[in-house]
Amino acid sequence: MSFGQWLSLIALVAALVLAWSLREAIMLLFAAVVLAMAVCTLVGAVQRRLGCARPLALLLSLFAIALVLAVGAAAIVPPFLAQFSELLQKLPEAWTELISLLHQGLESFSRMLYGRSDGGLRWLQNLSGTVRAGPALASGVGNWTFRLVGLVGNVGTVLLKTLFVVAVALMVAAQPIPYREALLQLVPSFYRRRARQVLLQCGEGLSAWMGGVLISSLCVGTLAAIGLSLLGVRLVAANAVLAGVLNIIPNVGPTLSTLFPMSVALLDTPWKALAVLALYVVVQNLESYLITPSVMHHQLRLLPGLTLSAQFFFTLVFGPLGLVLALPLAVCLQVILREVVIHDILDRWKAVPGRAIQPRLSGGGER
């Protein structure tokens, strides 16, 4: 190896170490790029529909987004906040309800088993009693002042990060071409044309994914709202919005969104909680087997196992933000893997005649 090669090897290692230590900033940047991509998609659609210049289209779409957000906030937020605070107040009640239900169930079970009320399952009831004491103890002991200060600090950090992401997204959305060209400058000259193709495909994949997710989230929210109002569960708006928003995060989100309506329904009547659970399972299955396959571009469909492992991996590496951004990251990585690694490197590797790799990984065809 010559000195120049050593130099490039060391530079590569240093760049990788630097990227690893800056992974949070890179994640924020990626979030901003995803947001900018969403705005750009909207701008492109407006431009094509109205046939106006890009600045005007950008202004129009930003205005439209602001309008939708403002109307949504005005229509949803006040009842949502009221319902949500009610929900938070009711959660402990729901918990005690659940515990007492458990007690009753255990009692009837032991009566069935032993014929008397104070059967041999008393120890299990005691156990559930200590479980009930646990959270109350934890919330009582905590030092409220310090917790409050920590919470304020956390909220401030999150707010700052959100502001950063939004600002960068707006700046990128205002002029996306210079950023793409600047990025392409950092690629070796023989590969620039191909890298531009790959970047464009990543962008297309991201915008297609976002369109699909938007539609499926709307469907899930509407279905949940209809089902909940048919079942007569209260706090319909809050739960429907929650279900729609959490639908963006596959696997984890829908599970989380089931908890709140179930606890609300538990307060009314226990069977309703089961009905809500059944409703959400049905909605989820509808979403994942009917809505998403028909809405998503077929190349974007990720295998369920791949989705779950991507979520696990990105959460491990990047923290909570990685969990939220796992799907867009997976979409981009899929395009890069398919185009760069498989198509440009592995397919051209003459010594290994392994051509069978390509159709397996190139899409979700065998679903």
Partner: protein
């Protein structure tokens, strides 16, 4: 692989690790270079106008700076002293004032009670230690600032020989290129500093006029702080707004504070989105997100000094990236003969 390349690679790794360990020292050095360039720009102008030697021009410039500083101090000091007296009378009344303000809002009251409950002597004890640490840090940074100033004067006194030293430390085949690179970095830094100085001047005048019109006390000092902090984009102006806002809140009232906040917000946005891009578009071509990203990354890597020096660093880094990475490496990287790429 010969032993020579191995030794070279090892030396490179050791150098890199050493540079990482000494990053704060390097940052101080970079601050000195930035300050030296700031001194060098007027010297060059002066020497173009008058037939002066470099040391004479430097002495004239330093004298002018000293006179300017003295004038400003003479203007500011009486008012500042007076206001400090007022403030020192006011500060004991501050908790009562905040209490009166917060009692209007019931939610804040519970928070305040909790905070007051937490502020017992045991909790305050670590504060003393923190204060000591803070004093030590302040002394440390004063020494560092003095060092930076001294280094900058030395660098500005004789930039040629320092440049020659740097040139001698590059391989023979790259020296011509290095000369061009150094000149371009100097140009970019000078352009950035010039543009920012102009924009800081405009901010200073506008803030002074606005605050004086609003009849806020300490208008000149606040405007000066705002102008200095303009050199740290996005974070600096926001931090600078705190001083006039606090003064307005304490000495006048909440309504005045709102007016001050609106004035500063308007000025800040006009500076960031209209003035600076126009002034810098000729010399430094920075994409707007690059500045933000650089502040985030350098702040995470190097702490507060990195945050303060992020913009000059990124100006230099951009020139280096453009010339070395893009122009010398990536543009010439054609398909290797061994690899059978497309």
């Amino acid at each position: 692989m010969s032993g020579r390349t191995l030794i070279g690679a090892l030396a490179l790794v050791v150098l890199g690790l050493l540079a990482w360990e000494l990053r704060l020292v390097l940052l101080v050095l970079f601050g000195a270079v930035v300050l030296a360039v700031a001194l060098d720009v007027p010297i060059t102008l002066l020497r173009r106008l008058l037939p002066l030697s470099r040391p004479a021009a430097l002495v004239i410039e330093l004298l002018a700076l000293a006179v300017l500083g003295w004038l400003l101090t003479a203007l500011l000091l009486p008012e500042v002293l007076e206001q400090i007296q007022v403030l020192s009378q006011l500060i004991p009344r501050l908790p009562a004032r905040l209490h009166a303000l917060s009692s209007h809002i019931p939610q804040l009251r519970a928070l305040e009670l909790q905070l007051m409950g937490g502020a017992t002597w045991d909790r305050l004890q670590p504060l003393g230690g923190q204060l000591l640490g803070f004093a030590g840090g302040a002394a440390n940074s004063t020494v560092q600032l003095l060092l930076i100033a001294l280094l900058a004067v030395l660098l500005a006194l004789d930039p040629r020989s320092h440049q020659r030293l740097l040139l001698a430390a590059t391989p023979q085949f790259y020296r011509g290129r290095m000369q061009i690179l150094l000149n371009e970095c100097r140009e970019a830094l000078g352009g950035w500093l010039g543009g920012m100085t102009l924009s800081a001047l405009v901010v200073f005048l506008a803030s002074w006029a606005g605050l004086a019109l609003l009849k806020v006390p300490l208008a000149l000092l606040s405007a000066l702080v705002c102008a200095v902090l303009t050199f740290v984009p996005t974070i600096g102006p926001t931090a600078a707004t705190l001083l006039p806002m606090a003064v307005a809140l304490l000495l006048v009232g909440p309504a005045k504070m709102l007016q001050v906040a609106m004035l500063r917000l308007a000025l800040q946005n006009a500076e960031a989105f209209l003035l600076t891009p126009v002034l810098l578009s000729r010399t430094v071509n920075l994409l707007p997100t690059v500045a933000l990203m650089a502040q985030l990354c350098l702040g995470a890597l190097l702490g507060l000094p990195g945050l303060l020096l992020a913009l000059p660093l990124v100006v230099v880094l951009q020139v280096l990236c453009q010339e070395v990475l893009v122009h010398d490496v990536m543009d010439r990287w054609t398909r290797g003969d061994s690899a059978n790429q497309r």
